[in-house]
Symmetry: C2
């Protein structure tokens, strides 16, 4: 320790190293307000400083946990007293926006929403969007391969990153700052750092793929009688709005009822339908797109796929519809409530949810299970409340949620990652040879096991 701290200070300056009470004034995460404990927190100002810090840590065998916006939900940024925290909070620059090539070059500490807003000034659009937009960072989005609400049209973060700069465990800088949609000059090394949760390198800069800003936004909430209709309507809208459908968010009845209880959100339609969908389409022509959207909805209702629909007449009405989907505090204020993020093919979803609900009801008759999902992405979120007890019950809920996924080829993590929380279940989604290959990559690229050690899997 006596060796580490002064050397860190000599690399990043006195302001760049946080220890003691200054450190404890920081929270562990967005969700966990308890004081942060670690050997120190280091705040480099450049890729070169990150490289020097890592080289030093490599020499000293010092493990490192990288911190971004700390909005992750799988204990991917948990730190022990022996670990050093590396924060990208002083690397937040938006270095360049190219309106012709439609790219943005940003430092990893930049907050997602800041990037979204900066590109709008150039009539461009960065489509990654998720609830944590105001806090999460581009580096964290890369490291966790963030998903969110627009994946159905624009893909995950992986599809939105053209180039990347990262620092490896020994301090080597891998700069692959490609700006083109097409580049097959050798291995696509950036893939090593996308979605690997900081275990193979620390992302320092990225080249993001932008789109022209859409000129029209059409939103609706519809009610449906069955999951079959939910799946049919998705296909129907995809076809009718070819390429324009950007979000298709499904809420099961229990979820909808919970968040529209008195004191929470106003229900814009009856509260007893089995399913609700919030959908959105982005296009180019306000008038023509609105007409096309309306015609598609009318057809959906005439054919019986949808049984009710609400179209917002103002931005605030639109925001109110989205709030029902995005603000689930009515659910999470109950303790304990366990949040899940799984994926499986759409054809199995209905059966899967029925099975989970049956198991949970048998286990905890007074419990609740609230479901919503980006079904076009194969992605469901479940909130499980046993109705009593505490976090000790988590493993039992895990079993009911994760075990039935196996037979459907599902995944224990759709978009949240693995961190520490899901580590014990990773093997149910991945085969032994896959696990071995992951470990081989980790041992090869981080032979001293210094980068976010223990996260995703144990070596």
């Amino acid at each position: 320790m006596s060796e580490l701290i002064p050397q860190l200070r000599s690399i990043v300056g006195d302001q760049g190293v946080v220890t003691g009470s200054d450190l404890h004034q920081r929270a562990c995460s967005y969700w966990d307000p308890s004081p942060l404990h670690a050997k120190a927190l280091v705040r480099p100002r450049s890729t070169d400083e990150v490289s020097q810090v890592l080289r030093l840590c490599h020499e000293l065998g010092q493990p490192i946990v990288t911190h971004g916006g700390l909005t992750g939900v799988v204990d991917g940024t948990v730190v022990s007293e022996d670990e050093l925290v590396l924060s990208l909070e002083r690397m937040t620059a938006i270095e360049e926006i190219d309106p012709v090539g439609r790219t943005a070059i940003v430092q990893a500490g930049a907050v997602l929403q800041t990037v979204q807003e900066a590109v709008v000034e150039h009539d461009l659009y960065f489509p990654l969007d998720l609830g944590a937009r105001g806090s999460c960072t581009i580096g964290g989005n890369v490291a966790t391969n963030a998903g969110g609400i627009n994946v159905i049209r624009y893909g995950m973060m992986r599809e939105l990153v053209l180039g990347l700069e990262a620092v490896m465990a020994d301090g080597t800088i891998i700069s692959s700052m490609n700006r083109m949609l097409k580049n097959n000059a050798g291995y696509d090394l950036k893939q090593l750092f996308i979605g690997t949760e900081g275990t193979l390198g620390i992302v320092t800069r990225a080249v993001l793929k932008l789109k022209e800003a859409p000129a029209s936004h059409n939103t609706a909430m519809v009610a449906l009688e069955s999951f079959e209709s939910v799946a049919q309507l998705l296909k129907f809208m995809e076809r009718k709005l070819a390429g324009h459908l950007s979000a298709y968010e499904v809420m099961w009845r229990d979820y909808f009822q919970a968040v529209t209880e008195p004191g929470w959100h106003r229900a814009p339609m009856g509260r007893d339908y089995p399913f609700y969908v919030v959908m959105e389409a982005n296009g180019a022509d306000a008038e023509a797109d609105a007409a096309q959207f309306m015609i598609a909805l009318e057809e959906a209702i005439e054919s019986g796929m949808a049984v009710d629909a609400v179209i917002p007449k103002s931005v605030s009405e639109r925001d109110a519809l989205w709030a029902i989907r995005e603000d689930f505090e009515a659910i999470t204020e109950v303790n304990p409530t366990f949040l899940y993020d799984v994926s499986l093919p759409i054809v199995h979803m209905d059966e899967y949810i029925q099975q989970v609900e049956t198991s949970l009801a048998r286990r905890w008759p007074q419990g609740k299970c609230y479901v919503l999902g980006h079904i076009g992405d194969g992605n469901l979120h479940l909130f499980v409340s046993p109705g009593f007890g505490d976090s000790n019950l988590h493993p039992q809920a895990d079993q009911d949620v994760y075990e039935p996924l196996i037979k459907y080829g599902g995944s224990v993590s759709a978009e949240h990652g693995i961190g520490l929380e899901k580590r014990g279940w990773l093997g149910s989604s991945r085969s032994d040879p896959e696990m071995e290959l992951m470990r081989l990559l980790k041992r090869t690229l981080d032979p001293k096991n210094l980068l976010n050690p223990g996260k995703i899997f144990e070596l």
Copy 2:
């Protein structure tokens, strides 16, 4: 050899091993009709057989070159007498098409066009498309991260593969046959096998991402006065057709004139414009989309971005426009003609091409340089004809084409890969640490250097 062949026969059957004159009756590639020479060609029927073959080769230290459709253009499938060819030609099944999840599970030997046509029967669409569609295989498309004409909207092959099965050098089967858009359960191992040209594993099956079949297709050829207009019009059409523009193919004047010489294609408009673009949009509503497309084109002409436009009135007229872009035999029948595939940011393209043309004109005053490109992807193709000589002149052309890319952050391969042909220039697009990391991956995953050895880089 005496040991290898009988053991191969015992794995794949007598029909599965081709040697001697049967082997020599095969051509080296789509482009090179000379007889194939190799130790043998093995044709496994299943992933398990591929695994057994690789395990055997690993024991014997036998190097392997994988063959797909053999339409590659960078000497990525060249075989020496000491090497074994592994062909996926008996693994061509389309195993499953899921219209709800919009996925297809196919074996790696399936031909791209066969897959395209099979999914159409389910009103679905597989958007990867390139000139070699009738011969190239899905495995080859994965191994080379194929691009083509629809990347601007749908991405490269990498973006169209949800899951993958591959066999590693020691015979280990890595089965990551994910079917969901979202799956963050650990490292995304399939990335190791996409675009690595068969050097890290042999792809045996894939889960492909499909789209709903578009109901409308609008095509136009336009003429433009400057590259600035070409770049402006791309942005303009992207905005006006938000999400519907699927192709934007640019031809420089020399290219257009060469392929519309008497005896070749009929020019649908004047032949003296500096630039021509073939563009296409796919949508959902034949009437509304056609109107929107027409309005956008009219605006483009009124504002001066485009100076002439032709809209095909029939499928055969549409095909005739596309043939100008896709059939460049008028150029390649001249020997020698060197084909290039580079990428660089759009903002630098005009200057780059002028520079290349100047260098080439100085070097070979009687030579020609024909340029076309998927500029939205950053991708240009150049055909360089010195006007005399033979393939010995290739290195000189390489220098004029590749060297100026360096200062623009360009790439010596946009979509064709590296193979043997571009190996010497890879270092101009990638840094030393990147090259070291590629070698580290290769040494780790293929420690005996048996999979397509020497391709992309030398160890």
